[in-house]
Symmetry: C2
């Protein structure tokens, strides 16, 4: 067997601990599959004294990841620090400068600087791998980059954030509000103390930008992802959606063609038969459409020590086996500039929940506005009667262009009888 | 860009035609992803005059695949002939002997001779790739071989034959019999004129043997796959299964551990919530359990020109990009000898349909036999009353060892009041 592949691990939190545990448990079979044994030669973390259940005494310890990346003896930097700037970025740049490979789980870093880092890796003749950055244990980067290489991907969508998916599944199952379930998720460790990256859709958008680049052969373009989170979804929305035959999921979606790509993260109503509809809790899913392969569906655990360590180990194994390759499937210089399509041109159905004063003529006013915008209605739900009090009215609207829908909503919101800004959820009829 | 990768295609049927079409449509992007353009330099098929919609006049034509594999100028033999012996095998052996890579969609060949062919490829220092041999367009070979390399896989199951899955979905949806639906499937081109390879489970078993080898690091051991097909499933079984909350699928299943692996293909009752339960029609699915990654689910089209060509193209792209690797994930010499566990030791639930004479005391006799074997009953369905006539009785039995179940069934079959051999379907509670 060839010489050991030496890895330097920056960051020994949940994922770093998971990786050390994986190497201890499955190191032998990983060595057989990669053709080389894997040896941890350097580690870097904040607290040297913390017990991580693994003996680190024989491994070089560094306090600064960039110093480790520059000075340590290793072949692959495993960057598990996180964050789009600062130590993580400096460490990766230092690794490339010193001619070392980088394996990272850092979606924020790659979403912001992916193209530049891919170029730096190529200039150094080394690999930048990031299977763990998207959809945890699902080998989706490899699937799109290599497994579907023969296809033009026309669209892709997925559940890319396990925290949001857990919250939405729990809201549906319990009938409770977002705030309630978020608190519970925080207590269970499924949501961060500051949950905004997750629940506001930013984390999913980071991941979507990477998948879009891979699938469409374009530069990573996080800045042009349209992002909406899940805070405005009410307990009642799950009731109405259920009655209408839909599930509510936070999806990352990218589609496009000759004119450009449209990247977006937003709550979405999907038919109960859609492949993502049954993916609940902390699971992630990615669905791709390729011109030769058709629909492919990938489902697995989206986060956690084990799944993320599994993805990191796969990247390390690829490097050990000499299976390199370009970070985004082709030379970074060959990636096309991303041309972004605006949300205004999105065509699709819409779910709208509004509070209106229960008074004769209100529905006529609302539907008159829709008629004026040539938007046709598929269903309407109005619950109960409460004369002169606000009641929920839910509309499901047929396919229309988003600009028209927004125009209609603004006119509806301006009505005296509409007491709050209407809440809109887009409908995608995947699998129907 | 490096020199073109030259491919010689043996077999220009559905898949071969699909591959030529893919190379014509997506050749440029495939070249970017593989770092080299792909050039077809030789083809071999039975009928030179047949119009395949692609101009082959500039490509060397061979009548004999082994002659092409030996004499043509090429880098990669793409073997799309099929069959475990004869021309396909001879062509692959000739390619290795001449120092060329082989990409094949031939599961029968690999199931019978996989380990030997992998050794021949390694001896020649070339690649043997077969993504298209299992589950069509799903990149499952890559996923298990590379994507899950950090895991010990403890079990794997899947819908591996689209013909059977189509027939079973149609039987459930229409309430019609196997024979009826088979005829229809043949007319639609979803089933072969001689359907036995598909409906008797042999094709699924070929594929399972390959997945088992990859996942468990063992030599390919098709001879020890327990195989049952779908001919004995009745229209009524779908009714009963539905009432009990189950779907009926033909699954390939492998599980194992220290003592060995148990490979089997048989009709299976799965809970409606199991990941494979919703996979209908011509779709395939594979579900893996890894110690770090947990459950992963892969779904896609299992056959057809496009999906199969997509898989072949991915293998070609890997070779173009220099992503070689061992056929079964590790050197063929390092594959462990497969130790096969017999079906007798299988532990699980059972569904049993029997025809009994509707007469006082019959159920007491049957349940007495079960009690004597210490098998406990979960549900019983008896439909209608027809004194002294045969009626269906369906039992669902709790987890028990298969040897005990078979013993009980033999005793039940010997009863005067049981008019046909009882039909048994195993229950697997995946996802429940």
């Amino acid at each position: 067997m060839a010489e050991a592949l030496r890895i330097a691990v920056a960051g020994l939190g949940t994922v770093g601990g998971g990786l050390l545990s994986l190497l201890q448990t499955n190191g032998d079979s990983l060595a057989q599959r990669g053709g080389r044994s894997i040896e941890v030669t350097a580690v870097c973390a904040r607290d040297k004294t913390k017990d991580r259940g693994v003996d680190l005494s024989a491994i070089a310890w560094y306090d600064d990841p960039a110093v480790m990346a520059t000075e340590a003896e290793y072949d692959v930097l495993v960057e598990l620090i996180g964050g789009s700037e600062g130590p993580a970025k400096l460490a990766c740049e230092a690794a490339f400068a010193a001619g070392h490979h980088v394996v990272t789980a850092n979606k924020a870093l790659l979403a912001e600087h992916g193209t530049a880092l891919a170029k730096a890796a190529e200039a150094a003749g080394v690999t930048l791998a990031y299977e763990a950055a998207v959809a945890g244990g699902i080998p989706i980067i490899k699937a799109i980059r290599e497994g579907l290489a023969g296809n033009q991907v026309s669209s892709l969508h997925g559940i890319l954030n396990g925290t949001c998916n857990y919250i939405l599944s729990a809201m549906r199952d319990t009938g409770r509000d977002f705030g309630d379930i978020l608190t519970e998720a925080q207590e269970l460790g499924y949501a961060e103390a500051d949950p905004s990256f997750d629940v506001d859709g930013v984390d999913a958008a980071h991941k979507l930008a990477l998948l879009a680049s891979l699938a469409f052969g374009t530069e990573v373009d996080f800045a042009n992802v349209h992002i909406e989170g899940i805070r405005s979804i009410s307990a009642e929305d799950f009731q109405y959606a259920g009655e209408l035959g839909f599930e509510i999921k936070l999806l990352g979606i990218v589609d496009g063609g000759e004119d450009g790509v449209r990247q977006r993260v937003h709550p979405t109503l999907v038919p109960a038969a859609a492949p993502v509809a049954a993916v609940d809790g902390v699971f992630n899913a990615v669905v791709t459409e390729g011109d030769f392969v058709g629909t492919s569906v990938f489902v697995g655990r989206g986060a956690g020590a084990g799944p993320t360590a599994s993805a990191v180990a796969a990247d390390i194994c690829d490097i050990a086996a000499g299976r390199g390759g370009h970070a985004f499937g082709m030379p970074a210089d060959a990636l096309a500039e991303s041309r972004s399509l605006s949300m205004d041109g999105r065509e699709g159905g819409y779910y709208v929940r509004m509070r209106v004063i229960d008074r004769p003529g209100v529905i006529a006013e609302v539907t008159g506005i829709l008629r004026d915008q040539a938007i046709s209605m598929e269903s309407i739900i109005q619950r109960g009667r409460a004369p002169d009090e606000p009641v929920d009215v839910v509309l499901v609207l047929h396919e229309t262009e988003e600009s028209r829908m927004i125009g209609a909503l603004e006119a509806i919101a301006a009505l005296d009888t509409v007491s709050e800004k209407p809440y809109l959820i887009r409908i995608e009829r995947f699998g129907a």
